[in-house]
């Protein structure tokens, strides 16, 4: 498989407060890769390392087949980037911001930019400082798309936008991907939004990658089981991993298990042990993400205690 982004054992530290330790990441070319994590998990830091804004202390980063930050200017010609917060010079008009941006990009498509201007309902003479958050978000997306990128890096691109603008922006991005087969790396905490269009998902917490799998696999493997007579049954030794175990609605003999790696034949294994499987519920990406995060944190705190 060819990868648009590759991180190999990347390490970066910000004093004693936060660090990314030996992060290994693979974003398949042509995929829409959702990068999930709670606030402060290291999503934006990872993106800044990709963009060459910060230098890793160790490890290798390759983007579109080239080493970063060594080949950065060449790589960035093929990358569209929407940062977490607006970064445009506020005293400029939309047209001026477009002119400035276009002057740095060899691949700038002026015709496509004009088309996007209309499509996203932006006026060229509008001053950026007088624009709403939604309009600024749309302008940033326009600037990122009009360079005709092979790789689009979006850091919380729809954060704080109203649903209508969010839909406009994401529809524009998806149309572009459908047309060009570009790779999208999108970081967001709006998990259910990512679920609609991502085909890969990576989860980061406290600077470490917890999982990186195709979305379907992620969702398929995580289930909530409603079990009878499961009290006292040890979960170790089962072919799936138990992420969470809670008594259900105060009923003594009933428990709810959140498991990862569940497959149909596992029901028989439980029933052999005298457990009745009442219900197997598919979790959506958001629930799965929360459960996975909870279990990893519990596991980490146990290891810390030891």
């Amino acid at each position: 498989m060819i990868h648009a982004i590759e991180f190999d054992d990347v390490t970066w530290r910000a004093g004693n407060d936060f660090s990314i330790e030996k992060l290994t990441l693979r974003v398949p070319q042509g995929s829409i890769y959702g990068f999930l994590g709670p606030n402060g998990a290291g999503k934006s830091t990872t993106i800044r390392l990709m963009m060459g804004m910060m230098k890793p202390e160790g490890g290798d980063i390759r983007m579109l087949g080239e080493s970063v930050p060594r080949a950065l200017p060449r790589v960035l010609q093929r990358v569209g980037y929407v940062p977490e917060r607006p970064h445009l010079f506020s005293r400029l008009t939309v047209k001026e911001a477009i002119d400035v941006h276009a002057s740095f990009h060899h691949r700038w498509d002026a015709l496509w930019a004009t088309e996007l201007l209309e499509r996203l309902d932006l006026r060229p003479d509008q001053q950026i400082r007088r624009m709403s958050k939604g309009q600024t978000g749309k302008l940033m997306m326009l600037l990122a798309l009009a360079v005709r990128p092979h790789l689009l890096i979006l850091d919380e691109p729809t954060d704080g936008l109203d649903p209508v603008i969010r839909r406009d922006v994401m529809t524009t991005v998806l149309d572009y991907v459908a047309e060009t087969d570009a790779t999208i790396f999108i970081s967001s905490h709006l998990v259910h939004e990512l679920e609609r269009f991502c085909d890969w998902v990576g989860v980061i917490d406290r600077g470490a990658l917890i999982t990186e799998v195709p979305v379907q696999e992620f969702k398929r493997g995580i289930k909530r089981l409603r079990l009878l007579n499961a009290r006292g049954i040890p979960a170790n030794g089962t072919p799936f991993s138990l992420l969470d175990r809670i008594p259900a609605n105060g009923i003594r003999s009933c428990e709810e298990w959140v498991v990862h790696g569940w497959e149909g034949p596992h029901r028989a294994l439980l029933e052999e042990a005298g457990v009745t499987v009442q219900e197997v519920v598919d979790l959506d990406l958001e629930e799965g993400f929360v459960e996975l995060l909870k279990s990893v944190r519990i596991q980490n705190s146990r290891e810390d205690d030891r």
Partner: protein, 230 residues
Amino acid sequence: MSMQMLKLHWRAARWPMLPVLVAAFGLPLMAGWSTWEASGAADSLEATSAWSVIDGAAIWGLGFPVLAAIAGAVIGLCAWTWDHRHDHIYALSLPIARWKYVAIKFGGGTILVAATTGVFALGAGLSSLLADLPVGIRGYPGNLSIHFFVATQTAFALLFALASGTMRTATIFIGAVFALVIAGQPTLDLLGGFWAPIGAIDLGQLAHSLLIENDGPLSIFSGNWMLFDV
């Protein structure tokens, strides 16, 4: 790309530069205007008139290096205004090598320095043309403008470098300079009590000789700034 960077620099600097440009045009004119008074007041005595003109030019000449320092500082400080406001994120996301970005920005600033010098040269030229100069006194608008350009460019380069860093770096640097100015000499005097050679150091004199005398980096701000001279 360079044109766009220059435009951005001008957009950031234009309002603070407006009074500087007015002064750059007006100050040499004022120096010339003083000659009308000087030569008019003593037209019967040519020598007295010549000295009055030179005296007047010398007084106005004190303002030119100050103006050059202010012009350079304004252009230098405004070079990075927008980059700092957004933590340099926009600049860092552009597909251009960092040294090239800085070089283009510096080049843009140099053009603004040249434009300011152009305005100054216009004022100085006009002033020389209109001046009522006694025999033996000449106007030096060209030389003065070159002097002004180099001084402005020096101030610009210093402030450009200082402003390119973070607020923390700038604060540390300015704080260190202030600390040296305020506490430097008393500290040396105090230490002189233990070891006499240290007490003999005159910090002001040392700074002057290092920075201004003997072709020091700021020596351009000293020397002859006369628009009218023999």
